[in-house]
């Protein structure tokens, strides 16, 4: 097990990258703690698989170094990095039994038979496959096979990290939940460094201690699920995480007030005349409808009941504003205004969050 350091790392699939747009992965500097559970979250094509392949050694970065602990592994081939990886589709050795599958990585490294047998037994118990150890892997279901891949990843005690590349894609929804829970408990029990690539925010937020949100080849925010929710560092994070995503409105910000189409929105902190495209972002959870004269004038277009709460879709001069109202709350027929909780309003300049001068909330 080791901490992972990405130092000035960048990658381009082109031989001679010229502009920043040529990079699939823009320069980044990160240290990932030993024993942490990280999720790489982003839309397809944002560079998360590129990053994963660089860490696993399947891809050589065009710039920068990768360190496991204090050891520079940038030029080391996959086999020498001592990592494990679980792929999108279950990879099992069909003709081998479950037992042989689990023992395979250890046998290839010349481990003693007694040790192999003991480890296989332990892992089989962990993934709940003791009963089927002697069956051929071929006839098993997709989720059982994915459990074997997972088990094969964990059978070595000394792996530096376990990488997951969207491992639950082919798993039935009800099994997804079970496998994710199992992963979480395995992480708690054994403390491997785990890196989990996904485009599903639920998976990322439930699995990881730290979520790394990627957008357009860049890490836009790395933080706990709470941080991503409360203070998204980039408009993409606000939009991508949450259901529905954060409301973003063009505004003019002066001091403790934001002005939108002549309406004043109170802010909790002071911002000095930001330069560039200024927006305010408010999560639907922190917006509410009002019958008063404060707030933005809106027309309610639709109310969706999603069970735990209701999502109110409102129209403000052609822009949609989403509001989450609790299940019991009455939505008044004459509610024509939307007000925001001042403490929960974030200010963005050119898509990046602006830290307030007199921060009263949590700074990013």
């Amino acid at each position: 097990m080791a901490k992972i350091t990405l130092s000035n790392l960048a990658h381009s699939y082109l031989p001679n990258p010229k502009s920043e747009a040529d990079y699939a992965l823009k320069e980044m500097d990160h240290v990932w703690d030993d024993g942490g559970a990280y999720a790489l979250l982003g839309a397809s094509g944002c560079g998360k698989s590129t990053l994963l392949n660089i860490i696993s050694g399947l891809l050589h970065p065009s710039e920068g170094r990768v360190l496991f602990g204090d050891e520079d592994v940038t030029d080391a081939p996959t086999a020498q990095r001592n990592i494990a990886q679980v792929f999108q589709f279950p990879v099992v050795y069909d003709t081998m039994s479950v037992r042989e599958n689990l023992a395979f990585p250890l046998k290839n490294r010349g481990a003693k038979p007694a040790y192999v047998a003991e480890r296989v037994q332990t892992i089989a118990r962990m993934i709940g496959m003791e009963d089927v150890l002697d069956r051929k892997a071929r006839g098993l279901t997709a989720d059982a096979k994915q459990k074997i891949s997972l088990g094969r990843g964990m059978v070595r005690e000394d792996v530096n990290a376990i990488l997951f590349d969207e491992p639950l894609t082919v798993i039935d929804p009800h099994m997804k939940w079970e496998l994710r829970t199992q992963l979480k408990s395995l992480h708690r029990e054994f403390g491997h460094t785990m890196i989990y690539v996904t485009h599903d925010q639920t998976e990322a937020l439930t699995f990881a201690d730290k979520v790394v949100v990627m957008h357009d080849g860049r890490v836009v925010q790395m933080g706990t699920p709470e941080e991503l929710f409360e203070t998204p560092a980039h408009t993409f994070v606000g939009y991508f995480i949450g259901s529905p995503g954060m409301n973003l409105l063009d505004a003019e910000v002066r001091g403790k007030t934001a002005h939108i189409e002549g309406v004043e929105i109170p802010l909790e902190a002071t911002y000095t005349a930001p330069q560039g495209r200024t927006q305010i972002g408010v999560r639907p959870e922190f917006a509410s409808l009002s019958t008063g004269h404060q707030g933005l004038p809106v027309t309610v277009t639709r109310v969706e009941d999603v069970g735990r709460h209701r999502i109110v879709r409102a129209d403000f001069l052609g822009q949609e504003i989403n509001i989450i109202a609790s299940e019991g709350a009455e939505i008044a027929a004459d509610a024509t205004r939307v007000i925001f909780d001042p403490a929960r309003v974030n200010v963005y300049v050119d898509d990046w969050r602006l830290s307030p001068e007199t921060a009263q909330g949590k700074a990013a």
């Binding site: 696993s56 399947l58 081939p77 996959t78 086999a79 990592i83 494990a84 990886q85 792929f87 999108q88 589709f89 990879v91 050795y93 069909d94 003709t95 081998m96 395979f104 990585p105 290839n108 490294r109 069956r135 051929k136 071929r138 006839g139 891949s149 094969r152």
Partner: protein, 290 residues
């Protein structure tokens, strides 16, 4: 669900029945007809019972041809299957060279059988053939027309040249269907090259290899044209395989009865062996899958 009875549906399969009757059943029945009768000419036939079958089964000549046939099929299978796999493993996986290789590999398969025979017949000739003359010039005593071993080598090399591509192409198709993740996983598991082959590539190729073995067995067991053009079954009877012997008997000697009995048994042997092959291989598959 109630089944509707409609005998008119038989008319829909009638065209196929007629076609199959003319292409297979009627010719086969003619052979059956010949195999149980004798004639002294003038289209007058006498009932001969199983006499021709008994005669064929006790004929040393037929058993010798059968032995040569088994040997030939066994040799070309043991060469072509591993060689085809080896070639497939070493072919480029994508890009220009992959397409180039595929085209080059497919070429021998497109040449008519008797042309293949002629090519090798000339190629191996000591007086004008590139191969035969070169070997001769190098001081190697090679002559497929009067040396049994040379004749066998020529026929086998020719068949390997002609058909290994088929095995290679099938194996290649099998290899191409293996997702990249398997190779990545093998790297992470530190599997050796041999283990990658044994536990990933071979199992994934199993299906196509079964087809390759079946096709190559049936084809080689029925081989006629190429060796006939090259050696004419000689020297002596050294390369007289079953179908060459059959043609000699039926057309050369005009022994229609024995030849008919012979062909029926020939057909049954191929059917039997193919069936055994197929059953064994598919059962193997099922047992592993349970």
């Amino acid at each position: 669900m109630d089944k509707t009875t409609n005998q008119k549906a038989w008319f829909l399969v009638l065209p196929v029945l007629v076609l199959v009757a003319f292409s297979a059943v009627i010719p086969l029945m003619t052979v059956v007809n010949y195999s149980v009768q004798d004639t002294f000419g003038n289209n007058v036939f006498f009932w001969a019972g199983l006499e021709w079958f008994e005669q064929a089964l006790s004929s040393d000549r037929l058993w010798a041809a059968f032995g040569r046939q088994i040997m030939f099929s066994a040799i070309i299978l043991t060469i072509q299957i591993p060689l085809g796999i080896f070639v497939a493993l070493n072919m480029p996986k994508k890009g220009f060279w992959a397409s180039f290789c595929l085209v080059v590999m497919a070429l021998p398969l497109l040449i008519p059988f008797n042309v293949v025979g002629t090519i090798w017949q000339i190629f191996g000739r000591v007086d004008i053939g590139l191969l035969g003359h070169t070997l001769d010039a190098m001081g190697i005593d090679y002559n497929y027309t009067n040396d049994v071993l040379d004749a066998w080598i020529t026929v086998i090399v020719m068949d390997v040249w002609h058909w290994t591509s088929l095995v290679a192409l099938l194996a290649y198709a099998g290899l191409q269907s293996i997702p990249e993740a398997y190779y990545q996983a093998a790297k992470i598991d530190q599997a050796s090259r041999w283990k990658v082959f044994r536990y990933i590539e071979l199992p994934k190729m199993q299906g196509v290899l079964l087809i390759a073995i079946l096709l190559r067995f049936m084809d080689s067991f029925m081989i006629y044209t190429e060796p006939f053009v090259v050696t004419g079954g000689g020297p002596g009877n050294a390369t007289t395989f079953l179908s060459i012997d059959l043609v000699k008997m039926a057309i050369g000697q005009f022994d229609l009865g024995p030849a008919a009995a012979f062909s029926i048994m020939y057909f049954l042997v191929i059917l039997l062996v193919s069936w055994v092959f197929y059953t064994v291989m598919t059962n193997l598959d099922k047992r592993e899958g349970f």
